[in-house]
């Protein structure tokens, strides 16, 4: 066992820091720090992706043959950590971390040539059409159908919880192409141009005032057969391969660390009865309890990255990260809101960036409650906490 970062890792960290100092535009950094919504940052993200791409770092987790790096998992972790620490824009997950790897792992040469460069440059966004109204955590009962007609698929159905569908140029969809086999074997993976006739996107109003999640209605949408990824019927397998690919993502470790830091800053800035909250014992107790949990989460991530032998298997470790990380997102953002006291009650429009000029409303108030509200989703999407526990009980203990 060696529980320290090596000298090479330390040096790598310095290199990343220097790069960020030199290259991350200050205006982007500031907006990212103040971000209250994903959807409104697309332009910044694209600018930043181009900067990263110029350095060859826009998709470091990809295979080198496709423009990735040969960094160790630990280095990738350091890279991500430093980007978060510096308030760089977050990767658009669906584009760089989902469809990119799917295409280079399972796509045709034509698909690779057509899509990968634009993903690396962040030219446009991709959205993910997996969930359906009747199938939240239960993908087996998908109903969206794609019937082969000549050199096209005719797609009919409805997707839900499709992030950023309203501003994405392309989407990747799980669709049923075969009704005559076991549900998992009849699902295929299809790339769809979101401009195709027959697609309607409806934004769903969210608890925090955003409308970044969408419903996508597909009504006789004709999709060229060449947009099928890999083999028909393998969609489920490809989608699952992704999960094994990114086992530490759902920990939201970098988010949790950054937001806990922010909570401390708020506690230093806010007062009650003339006393800084950071000097209030109950506030301190909440902060340190979360600090110790975030520390645990970070090391749980490192254990997965460094491939610690785990008697319950890697999926169990990943599931643990998801359960822990999502609870922490909620606890930390809720603490932020609580630290604001009654000021937490003000609604900040997630799209309108104008803040009140009033000194009654310091900058750190904006968006905190919004984050706490939308964080309720973290124990829901990607397999709800309850579903995670079902799975974990089964794989770890055979229950």
């Amino acid at each position: 066992m060696d529980l320290a970062f090596g000298a090479e890792d330390q040096q790598f960290r310095e290199e990343i820091r220097q790069f960020l100092t030199d290259n991350l535009p200050a205006d982007i950094q500031q907006r990212q720090r103040d971000t209250r919504t994903l959807a409104s940052n697309t332009h910044d993200l694209q600018r930043w992706m181009q900067i990263l791409d110029a350095r060859g770092w826009s998709v470091p987790h990809w295979e080198t043959a496709y423009g990735g790096t040969d960094w160790s998992p630990l280095k990738k972790f350091i890279f991500e950590e430093e980007l978060h620490q510096a308030d760089a824009p977050e990767f658009h997950w669906q584009s760089t971390h989902m469809i990119g790897p799917i295409i280079y792992m399972f796509g045709s040469d034509a698909q690779k040539a057509r899509y990968l460069p634009s993903i690396r440059r962040g030219d446009y966004l991709w959205c993910q059409g997996f969930s359906e109204p009747g199938a939240g955590s239960d993908l087996v009962s998908l109903k969206t159908m794609a019937i082969r007609e000549g050199d096209h698929f005719r797609v009919n159905g409805q997707k839900i919880w499709t992030s950023a569908a309203f501003e994405s140029e392309w989407g990747f969809f799980l669709v049923k192409t075969d009704m005559n086999v076991k549900p998992q074997r009849g699902i295929s993976f299809l790339l769809i141009d979101m401009e195709t006739p027959g697609i309607t996107v409806r934004r769903i109003g969210q608890i925090n005032g955003e409308a970044e999640l969408c419903e996508v209605f597909l009504d006789d949408v004709m999709v060229p057969a060449e947009n099928l990824v890999g083999e028909a019927g393998m969609g489920w397998t490809y989608a699952k391969a992704l999960l094994d690919h990114e086992r530490t993502v759902s920990s939201f470790i970098h988010f949790n660390k950054r937001e806990l830091r922010r909570a401390k800053e708020i506690a230093q800035a806010e007062t009650a009865g003339g006393r800084r909250l950071i000097d209030d014992p109950q506030t301190r107790a909440r902060l340190v309890a979360l600090d110790a949990q975030v520390t645990a989460l970070e090391w749980s991530v490192l254990r997965v990255l460094a491939d610690e032998p785990n008697r319950y298997g890697g999926t169990a470790a990943a599931s643990t990260l998801k359960i822990t990380g999502s609870r922490l997102q909620q606890a930390i953002t809720e603490l932020q809101a609580d630290l604001l006291g009654p000021r937490a009650l003000r609604y900040y429009d997630p799209v309108d960036w104008n803040e009140p000029a009033s000194p009654l409303w310091p900058h750190h108030v904006a968006g905190r409650t919004s984050a706490a509200l939308i964080s309720r989703a973290s124990t829901i999407y990607g397999g709800s906490e309850q579903v995670q526990k079902n799975i974990l009980g089964k794989i770890a203990f055979g229950l």
């Binding site: 955590s137 109003g205 609580d338 003000r346 009654l360 409650t369 829901i380 906490e385």
Partner: protein, 378 residues
Amino acid sequence: MNFDLTDEQTMICDSAERLIRELGALERRRERIARGEGFDRDLWSQSAELGWLALCVPEDAGGLGGSITDIALLMIELGRGMASDPLISSAILCSTLLAGSDWEGRADWIEQIMSGNGRLAFANLEPGDRAEWPAPRATTLKAEGNGFVLNGAKLLVQDGEGADGYIVTASIPGEQSQALLFVPADAEGLIQDHYRLIDGSRAADLRFDHAPISGGQVIGRGDGVAALLEDAIARASVATLASAIGSMEACLDICSDYLKTRQQFGQPIGKFQALQHMMTDMLVTTHNARSNLYHLLSRMDGDRDERAAALASARLAIGQAGLSVGRTGVQLHGGYGVTDEYAISHHYRYLMALEKRFGDSQAYGAMLADQLFGPIAA
């Protein structure tokens, strides 16, 4: 001791339930919020017609003089529809302040409020406040010429947007106690800023910049003001907590219905034991929260210290209960729970807002500790 409703209480609850059924549709609420309206004007005028606004005003001040229990029962019903604003801010809080004063404008304004023709809001909160309770104010009233001038800032004046006037707390240099002032919405030297809150209601910040105040605008000053403020805030707090109980009870209905209708993995999700247990946790929490409210109601007419302790206790317990019920309710709804399109997220936001009105759980926990154990020894 008995928990049966009187005939009058049954009548109040029934008519409130009816009105909420009529006007409480989620769609109506969402459209109203989208229009930037902080409360439902039809509900407000109906509240006047049905005598609810008068119910909140003591008999000797010209009202119907409902008991605090009557008011709480009404608020529970309105809370189910998240519709107790601005009854609390205007008809309960400001009316109580007026009724307890001997101000010359008292009768007029109480009449205005009861009839639904006028609305006042209570401007007390200042930066750094964690709870509203009589305390020295940074907003100051100074003698100048024949009258006074007012300087300072108030934030989060609940339902302050569109109010006809404000009852403002201020300190007078050299005096221990506070003053209560009446400031009309169009007063000179008053700058307003309006905004929406997370529960869709609306609030105002008030800035007083050398605002001239005449002697006739002083509702009260001197020793009686603290007790009056305590009374009014206690009554408004009861109404707030009762609203939360109603909202939690609505969450039980909403969620148990959802569990029975929503299908997943080939069966209603209510068949899953884990979700059943979450649902029963919500029930236990809600049931006990109502008990906390009863305890508070039983202490409202007694000793002031006992009332303060009961109030702090109920705020602490019900505040946390509301958050817990709201959170679990959202979780039970899966993805739909975090949309604006299902009622549950509205209740969660409403319960979050109620938890912080007049002070949050932590502040009231500290207050309860002071009541039970005395102040912290240095």
